[in-house]
Amino acid sequence: MRRLWALIKKESYQILRDPAAMLITFVLPPILLFLFAFAVSLDVKNVRVGVVLEGDGPAAQDLAAAFEATPYLRVTPARHREQVESKLVSGELKAFAVIPADFEARLLEGQGRAAIQIVTDASNPNTSTFTAAYMQGVFSGWLQSREGAGPEAAAIRLEPRFWFNPELQSRRTLVPGAIAVVMTMIGTMLTALVVSREWERGTMEAMLATPATMGELILSKLLPYFVLGGVASAGCAFLAVQVLGVPMVGSFGALMLISAVFLVPALGQGLMISTLSKNQLVAMQLAVMSGYLPSFLLSGFVFEIQSMPAFIQKITYIIPARYYVSSLQTVFLAGDVWPLFLRDMASMLAVGALFFGITRLKSKKGLD
């Protein structure tokens, strides 16, 4: 026990002196959190759109005014389609609506005939979907608010209710995801880099020659990172709630427990990478490819996992961040849903066992 303690002390000093470790633990996390809070936004607002008013009827002008009064749209008025079409190509406008010269006649005719046309720049399909839906909303809202619009239309009305995130701020779902990215960097990338450096420099072999057992060595290497990860997750949660305005519906204890469990597969993956590569540059690339990138491309907080092709969905099952993101979003936005937490934690521990198992097999061979 005293030997283990001495080893842990040695490793901790080494981390505190390492500029790479300090950079990854203290500089990158706040930068990434802020970027995910501000730069990566799926909230469509202040969209630049054109409104082409081809006629001069009072209803047409009223509708054009309704578009301009909408806070989420920034309207460029025009009289001819040609004026806005080229701006769609250059990217200055994301969409335009055409209110035709015979707009009044089309309105009276009713019966589902197209009264206006909405053209979007679908080179970014997601924005295009939202912009079109938004402009259609302006149009139907305007129709309903008109005086003497005739009998109420027979229609099936959908009443949307967004639970856990009623204002639909993408930041509230992205920042918890960013915490998973940060924790993957600390757990996997940092461990992979540092331990592979020990192999590269031969200090690992030197340590193996001491009376310390393999288990003690590995434990002493991982425990300081475990503590570092715990501190980082508490720091990230503080930033998210106090600075970035993410609510914390669940309990802090649950958050820390989930984070601790996540560190098991994350550290296991870092250790596995360093054992397999034993070379800093290769370890760095492997850690980026198998840890960092999947933690935000395949973990489901930006891109929906269920929408991916089946073979990629299968890959996501061994990405620990997938389970961590699911629980993190829940603890921040929905509360303590223990059945979900237990399921996710069991999955993370299973993936962790797999990584440690592979490491053990490989490191035995290395010593023979």
Partner: protein
């Protein structure tokens, strides 16, 4: 002087091509990344799980449910008895959204009154939820229109016709895969230049460069050539994958796009050399590259629209070479962007290249003295 420059360029290219790791990085990794991320990185919504709570026994809720179940964005459909059960399922993330039909739904439809359906969506998956909701709206509107056509007592309001230009079926890969061509080309160019000087320093060959007659500018130029080569090859390779493997249409001008790629890689290489001249070891330069790469990609509009960012961040984003080149690539693939519009994105690249190159040369010069 030209002979000396050519000789050092030749040396850099040889060093670059002889390393098997570099060759793997050039050809293997990008193709793999495009295939995985091209398929995985989609904001389209398909096969999501839908829950139904139906308090209505009539015909119209059944009609609506069967249409929703048949839609391609819906995967599994779960029928639940009450809202308590539904909220537990939603909290456990077992479904993305649920439809709740009130008891008088079919009666209201039959009487020609507006009939309400509650759509409850998991806000933790805000984007997928919103997209799924807009698909659901289209289904409800389609059913409403058919009702109006079939039975004369119904009135349907005038509609807005929607056209999606450049990508009529809203295929997300047409957006993502060309973006990957630009991004991967940048990653390679940054990694090559980022480790070029620090590698020599770690190996001790930088001292040999110091005593050679080469000027800092010559060193910089010769170290840029492999990045131009590598970034260019990867860019062309991924554009090929986009066109042939992902069937993304290319309407613009190849010549214009590849001409714009030159100042793009140049501006990226300047940044990479700057990082490399500051780092003492390869590990430091790799971390430096990593530190620059993530923010540059995030503020460029690679995954989420540039215009969604707050204004102050958009000003900072102008300094990202990727931001300008992404517009050129997207425009060239889908919009057949005219030369004038390409040029309006090229001159910012030229400015960034001039600034990053001058700074890098100054730093290398300082390091040399």
């Amino acid at each position: 002087m030209l002979g000396r420059l050519l000789a050092s360029i030749r040396k850099e290219i040889l060093v670059f091509l002889r390393d098997p790791k570099v060759r793997g990085m050039l050809f293997g990794l990008p193709v793999m990344q495009v295939l995985v991320f091209g398929f995985a990185a989609t904001l389209e919504v398909r096969h999501v799980d839908l829950a139904i709570v139906n308090d209505d026994a009539g015909r119209w809720s059944r009609e609506m449910i069967s249409r929703a179940s048949a839609a391609s964005f819906v995967g599994r459909v779960v029928h639940l008895d009450n809202m308590e059960e539904f909220s537990a399922r939603l909290a456990r993330r077992e479904v993305l959204l649920g439809l709740h039909f009130p008891a008088d739904f079919s009666r209201d439809v039959a009487l020609g009154r507006p009939a309400n359906v509650q759509v409850v969506i998991d806000g933790r998956r805000a984007n997928a939820g919103q997209v799924a909701f807009s698909y659901m709206t289209a289904i409800a509107a389609g059913l409403g229109l058919e009702l109006a056509g079939a039975e004369p007592q119904f009135v349907t309001p005038p509609q807005a016709e929607v056209r999606h230009w450049f990508n009529p079926n809203l295929n997300y890969r047409w957006f993502m895969v060309p973006n990957l061509a630009a991004t991967l080309s940048m990653v390679i160019a940054l990694m090559i230049t980022g480790s070029s000087i620090s590698r020599e320093r770690e190996l001790g060959t930088f001292d040999q460069l110091l005593i050679s007659p080469s000027t800092p500018l010559e060193i910089i130029v010769s170290k840029t050539i492999p990045a131009l080569l590598g970034g260019g090859i990867v860019g062309i390779l991924v554009v090929g994958v986009a066109i042939f493997a992902f069937d993304v249409p290319f309407y613009g001008s190849f010549a214009l796009m590849f001409a714009a790629m030159f100042p793009f890689i140049l501006s990226v290489s300047g940044v990479g050399l700057l990082v490399s001249s500051l780092a003492n070891t390869q590990q430091q330069s790799m971390l430096g590259v990593f530190l620059i790469l993530s923010p540059t990609i995030m503020i460029s509009g690679f995954a989420t629209p540039f215009e969604n960012m707050p204004e102050w961040l958009q000003y900072i984003g102008q300094a990202s070479p990727l931001k300008h080149f992404l517009l050129i690539v997207q425009g060239s693939f889908l919009k057949s962007m005219p030369a004038a519009d390409v040029w309006s994105n090229v001159w910012p690249l030229l400015i960034i290249a001039a600034v990053s190159f001058t700074t890098a040369t100054l730093f290398v010069q300082r390091r040399l003295q």
